[in-house]
């Protein structure tokens, strides 16, 4: 069987699920954040694959923007995590429970 769109999408979907799994199961905020990057990358893969097989560069343009946005997001996010770590001396999500109910 020739490698086609389905295959790329399958990889993408699996990667997406892996990222999601990380977000749900890991307790370290940084790792969670990395897992989120995995999910974005999965989307990127899907977009590039679609772009290729639909003969349409728009998808790739989208990836371009996603990467840029992700970079900005990561910057802000990490700064935030650093700030929180300074306060809490922890990057564990269990420790983030002053807001609840």
């Amino acid at each position: 069987m020739n490698v086609g769109l389905e295959h790329y999408l399958t990889v993408s979907a699996m990667l997406f699920c892996l990222g999601l799994l990380g977000v749900i199961l890991r307790r370290n905020v940084l790792v969670i954040y990395m897992s989120l990057e995995l999910m974005l990358n999965a989307a990127n893969l899907a977009l590039v694959a679609f772009s290729r097989f639909n003969e349409n560069l728009t998808g790739q343009m989208m990836v371009f923007f996603i990467i840029t946005v992700a970079a900005a997001e990561v910057a802000v996010g990490l700064a935030l995590i650093v700030a929180l770590y300074r306060k809490r001396q922890s990057a564990h999500v269990e420790d983030l429970t002053s807001l609840k109910l």
């Binding site: 990667l15 940084l30 290729r52």
Partner: protein, 170 residues
């Protein structure tokens, strides 16, 4: 099986393997490890991008993602002096339900992907090299505006990072 297909399977396997190791590494719970595997994942994906003729993006992926973003991650990890994640009590219920929902999502996505909806060109000829993308970006109006907005976004990120990580307060 054609050579590109073999490459696809290789990179796909690597991507998923490294991705899995980002999420769950049986040998180390250190975030650094996760970060390093994320770099590897990204690199493997760049390979997939090349297979998809998205050369520019493959380069960007490595330059921006593996280069800049991941370095940022590592810096932070180092900055925070994170120890290996202590082994806390494993929440079995959480793991099971979490796995359950992720598997559910996976099932649904797979079902959708293999549902026969896909249309694909038989011999795709699109090549996403720098020139093509550059032309696309700067000649088509539809990308111009997002581009400009992203610049504002970056400004916001800059301001935000400064604000959030400034040590002393004015």
């Amino acid at each position: 099986m054609a050579f590109p297909d073999i490459l696809f399977y290789l990179f796909a396997f690597l991507t998923l393997l490294f991705g899995a190791l980002v999420v769950a590494n049986p040998f180390s719970r250190n975030p650094v490890t996760s970060a390093m595997f994320l770099v590897l994942t990204i690199c493997a994906m760049a390979g997939l991008f090349v297979l998809l003729n998205a050369f520019f993006l493959a380069a960007v992926q490595i330059l921006v993602y593996a280069g800049a973003v991941m370095v940022l991650f590592l810096f932070v990890i180092m900055l925070l002096d994170l120890k290996e994640e202590q082994r806390r009590k494993i929440n079995l219920f959480g793991i099971v339900t979490g796995m359950g929902s992720v598997l559910g999502l996976g099932f649904l996505l797979m079902r959708t992907i293999w549902g026969g909806d896909l249309e694909q060109a038989a011999n795709p000829s699109v090549i996403g090299d720098t020139k093509a993308l550059g032309l696309e970006l700067f000649t088509k109006g539809q990308f111009l505006l997002p581009f400009e907005i992203v610049s504002v976004l970056l400004l916001v990120a800059m301001v935000g990072v400064i604000l959030l990580s400034k040590k002393e307060l004015k």
